[in-house]
């Protein structure tokens, strides 16, 4: 039964019901409310047995989780932004060792310039670290995903990141339902590790592997993630059956039937996007939206199926790969190869800039007028960047690439492409 809760608190309470035995915490905005709440739950004895470890860095947080998980304990932590990057080495290690740790990432931009607000640069920077990456579209889904994440992690013996937009979800105060404790217990069996540090049955974990077997080890990691493509929908289905609520899964479509234009996005922007879709549908536009909820593993086949009916695709991203463009759109493009669908990448909401219905409408109007470039930066203050670029041009001669960027921005030779 729902109550008016902050997203962070709902996640914390849900995590507690998953009975983690070791929780490590290091403060970083906007993740702090989650671990603060968990420390209270451990302190009050509501979450027991559980060791709440205040570590000295995110690197240590993940390392403690690695040790705990390898000893057969269900381990959890949460972080964001710089913290996630500071963990990077340990993240690869946790997945390499096949340790089913679950971590909440309260997505936040990466500095410099330092910026505490939301975008997806942090998680996207670590998309190749071997973790499964789930993106929640709402706080409710974020909470629910954690229940599924522990089950998924332990089933595949792989670590799972649950990404929820910092502030937008973590700090939003809404009617939310914390998954019922009994239901969680029946959905999530006790952790049976695939390997455990135990004097009664000793093993050596973390051997050095040379060229003779390294490729195989990496391939097996890939194969395990692909297996997760089957696990994730099954777990989502089972969750819906047990909790009476649809949450998670690989992806979900919104009003895609008969849609010419389909906007693909990850995370909390989906709510606003759905309203925009409704509004344009009312004006007769054939438009729909698709939420990617599992970015790693990437549901190529499912996405291809969902988009193949459309005539053009817009990938709305909260991060981008400097010097190239879209990150998600690269994978989408690969998934759609051969279909010849025009694909536009729209980079939006960087460093906490709000993605509003108005800006989305404006962008889609550009699209309708065929004025939207392949790479579009939503609400980019063109005057500012042009002034800066011109200033720079006086000092350094730009190569063709810089020209192209300007063209992308529609600054040079704007108009029908």
């Amino acid at each position: 039964m729902a109550s008016q809760l902050e997203g962070s608190l709902a996640v914390a309470r849900t995590v507690a019901r998953c009975r983690p035995q070791v929780v490590c915490a290091y403060p970083i905005t906007p993740q702090t409310h989650i671990v603060e709440a968990l420390s209270r739950l451990v302190g009050s004895g509501e979450l027991a047995p559980c060791e709440f470890v205040n570590v000295e860095s995110e690197f240590a947080a993940m390392s403690v989780a690695i040790g705990a998980s390898a000893t057969g304990a269900r381990a959890y932590t949460a972080t964001a932004s710089q913290g996630l990057l500071f963990m990077a080495e340990a993240l690869f290690n946790a997945s390499g060792l096949g340790l089913p740790i679950v971590m909440t990432v309260a997505n936040r931009a990466i500095g410099a310039p330092i910026n505490i607000w939301n975008d997806h640069s942090d998680a996207m920077a670590l998309r190749d670290c071997g973790w499964l990456q789930l993106y929640a579209t709402s706080s409710q889904e974020a909470a629910d995903m954690h229940v599924q994440a522990f089950r998924l992690a332990e089933r595949c013996s792989l670590p799972v990141m649950v990404c929820m937009d910092g502030f937008v979800l973590t700090h939003a105060f809404e009617p939310l339902e914390v998954p019922d404790a009994a239901a969680v217990d029946s959905y999530l069996p006790p952790f049976q590790p695939r390997q455990v540090l135990d004097p009664l049955d000793p093993v050596t974990i973390g051997a050095m592997v040379g060229p003779e077997a390294f490729t195989e080890v990496r391939y097996l990691a890939h194969a395990k993630q692909l297996e997760a493509l089957d696990e994730i929908p099954a777990l989502a289905q089972e969750f819906e059956a047990g909790f009476g609520r649809a949450s998670g899964g690989l992806l979900s479509g919104y009003r895609c039937e008969g849609a010419d234009t389909i906007v693909v996005a990850l995370g909390s922007v989906l709510g606003t996007l759905e309203e925009v879709v409704d509004e344009r549908r009312e004006q007769g536009a054939a438009i729909g939206a698709v939420a990617i909820k599992s970015f790693r593993p990437f549901p190529s086949a499912e996405l291809r199926a969902a988009l193949s009916g459309g005539r053009r695709v817009v990938v709305l991203e909260r991060a981008f790969s400097v010097g190239v463009g879209g990150i998600v759109s690269g994978d989408v493009h690969a998934a759609l190869s051969g279909l010849g669908l025009p694909l536009h990448t729209v980079v939006a909401g960087l460093g906490g800039r709000a993605i509003t219905r108005r800006s989305l409408h404006a962008m889609l109007d550009e699209l309708d007028g065929d004025r939207l470039g392949e790479l579009h930066f939503l609400e980019l203050d063109r005057e500012v960047v042009e002034r800066e670029l011109t200033r720079g041009r006086d000092h350094a001669r730009p190569g063709p690439h810089a020209e192209n960027i300007l063209r992308e921005l529609g600054v040079v030779g704007a108009g029908p492409v």
């Binding site: 109550s3 008016q4 902050e6 905005t29 906007p30 505490i116 607000w117 502030f167 937008v168 700090h171 939003a172 105060f173 809404e174 009617p175 909390s268 922007v269 709510g271 606003t272 759905e274 309203e275 906490g352 709000a354 993605i355 509003t356 219905r357 108005r358």
Partner: protein
């Protein structure tokens, strides 16, 4: 959907105000979404919080650009921040002040919105009297409820008692009640027809 935007400074309980309002709406069986305009929380810095109230689940997650109501917890912001930006004609405006709209230089705004749309209440004074501290948020909510009737006074009281404990809960409830009474009185006076006879 009814959208409220609350302006104040860090330490004045701006975010709490938005959450209390949402909680009250939840008590009334409505859907509500409260969220801050996220800045690094510093005492005294301008802070904005938002609250949406609707019958249907709320999906949009953008800041409120065109509020149905604006609450100004600190009149000193009037000259620094565009607190009334986007508020529609006829939208509700509640300012924390012991002075009236004219004294605050809001006469023209009062004209545009009409007498039953713009109020000032001495929330800080009320809070000082009830809590011993000038934390105006609860009182302002009392005034807002009187002004907009978006949630029921009882739900606001329940929200306050959920959010605060013991004396704090009781005192904030009283502060809200006082402000509610004062605001209601003002509205009543303004609604009353003007006398012609001496």
């Amino acid at each position: 959907m009814f959208e409220v935007r609350i302006h104040g400074r860090g330490g004045q309980g701006v975010v709490t105000a938005a959450e209390l309002l949402a909680l009250a709406a939840f008590e009334d069986g409505l859907q509500a979404q409260a969220f801050p305009s996220f800045g690094s929380e510093r005492m005294g810095a301008p802070v904005t919080a938002f609250c949406r109230i609707d019958d249907a689940p709320i999906r949009r997650r953008e800041p409120i650009a065109e509020p149905d109501a604006v609450v100004v917890q600190d009149p000193t912001l009037l000259h620094h921040v565009d607190v009334f930006g986007g508020v529609r004609d006829g939208g509700f405006i509640l300012v924390n002040s012991s002075r009236d709209a004219d004294a605050l230089g809001l006469g023209e705004l009062l004209e545009r919105h009409g007498p039953t749309r713009l109020l000032t209440v001495p929330a800080s004074e009320i809070a000082r009297a009830r809590l011993g501290r000038p934390i105006p948020n609860a009182a302002l909510l009392g005034g807002l409820v009187a002004l907009t009737e978006i949630v029921s006074p009882g739900s606001l009281e329940r929200a306050i008692s959920q959010r605060f404990n013991g004396a704090a809960a009781a005192n904030n409830a009283r502060a809200a009640h006082d402000a509610h009474v004062q605001a209601a009185a003002q509205l009543a006076r303004r609604a009353a027809p003007a006398r012609t006879d001496g």
